[in-house]
Symmetry: C2
Subunit: 266 residues, 2 copies
């Protein structure tokens, strides 16, 4: 009996769009013999992840595997597409070939790579996977907007804006930095909140960070009533948050009775 020797499934994070934000490790994975695989929304659609690689000067190899991950939240439909995707990459993997899955941004952060890995490993548990970490859109957003995300001992929450105004209001007050993703449908409400808490000057709006279409808006009030791109986020710093003294090193033990203000346990 021979043991099948499978290829590896590699998730290569290509960063937010600027081909120069690809890491050397991901670049090497693209240059390797591994079969390219990449996500598309539907048959014939463009792949943003693939486009980053092409913008970096790579040619699409003749043998390549587009995988359809449709824009749906229907669990049954999704499961059927993940199943098909897993079957498609299992062909070269079973032949002992490595497959590199191209990922926009970072493969561990809001990426379809997790689903792909899970579905492939359900079918073939012995398949080895590797994730190549990359630059997230919010890291790129802070960099192009010329601001810090978090400084020493600050706290940060990263949240899709769609959770609604009530939650956003609470998080704005509780965290030093709040990163709101996909702000499009709630933009006017977020501007209103920022005005209410006198935090307009602490907000930056960044659209398509790390691409050549990136836009930075420092006064978010100018966006009132406007329609923005789906790939847009807002970074909010909270200058008002009261802090308690943090426990440093091993010198102090946790002060269980200490009530951190702002992010106080309730």
């Amino acid at each position: 009996m021979t043991m099948a020797k499978f290829g590896r499934l590699i998730g290569a994070s290509l960063g937010p769009g600027d081909p120069d934000l690809i890491t050397i490790k991901a670049y090497k994975a693209l240059k390797s013999e591994a079969i390219w695989s990449y996500p598309i929304r539907k048959q014939g659609a463009k792949s943003f992840a693939l486009q980053i690689a092409l913008n970096a000067g790579f040619q699409l190899p003749e043998t390549n595997i587009p995988l359809i991950f449709p824009m749906t939240h229907d669990p049954e439909k999704l499961a059927s597409y993940w199943h098909k995707a897993a079957e498609a990459v299992l062909v070269p993997l079973s032949a002992g070939l490595d497959v590199v899955f191209l990922v926009e941004g970072d493969a561990s952060t809001y990426s379809t790579f997790g689903h792909l890995v899970r579905t492939v490993q359900e079918k073939e548990p012995s398949i080895k996977t590797e994730t190549i970490a990359g630059v997230s859109s919010f890291n790129a957003a802070a960099a192009i907007s010329g601001e810090m995300l978090v400084e020493v001992e600050e706290t940060m929450a990263i949240v899709p804006a769609g959770y609604g105004v009530k939650l956003l209001e609470k998080l704005m007050v509780d965290f030093d930095t709040l990163v709101l993703l996909k702000v499009k449908p709630l933009l006017d409400d977020i501007i209103e909140l920022a005005e209410k808490y006198d935090m307009v000057s602490q907000c930056s709006f960044i659209e398509k960070a790390g691409t050549n279409e990136e836009i930075v808006v420092k006064d978010i009030r100018t966006l009132k009533g406007k329609t923005v791109n789906y790939l847009s986020l807002i970074i909010i710093h909270n200058p008002h948050r009261q802090r308690v003294e943090i426990i440093r090193g091993c010198k102090k033990k946790c002060n269980d009775s200490g009530q951190p203000q702002g992010i106080a346990p309730t």
Copy 2:
């Protein structure tokens, strides 16, 4: 009257330690004519950021500027060191030379680059700065631990563990993913919390992610009573969090009366 033409101050994120996790953009900055500058804790100390560049095969240029950022929280002492650091990089900047400041991890995330930029621009407001985004330690941690940080529509909080057990307990319950940084002094308390909420299997401990000394521990209970490195973090996923339906696209408007459970406004 001639206008002085200053050089640019560039923050080059070099990632968490693996020289292959340097981006092409940062690599190009290191290869450019820019003067190297890098943080050290005290006179004669090693620079982790510099070491990443050396591990990538670069030679330390003869002219280079180590900047002392001491391990203190005394605001007066810190201000004096930032002042000295700014003065040091202003010498080449004023001579029209670019300065590249080497940063471990991502320059916008818990980095000293923000302080340096602010202090330099207070002295010379017309100095242009550029930040090259990079891979954060927590992105690298998730990648080497083979797990997702966040999946579609999940929420994440990133917090130094030193804020204490009460706060951590609340955040563990409130967010889909909690990244606890610098867990060393509170490790046993965190393990206890994970046991209390039946979340031990959802925790990963990662020390020195992205370096060649990286350690991943999947059963954090095995760390009870042990002393770990300062550069260690824990990623906690919350399988119990109840979600409300998120507002998608522009189809629905925010449901102000909706009470998101788990991360409910209080």
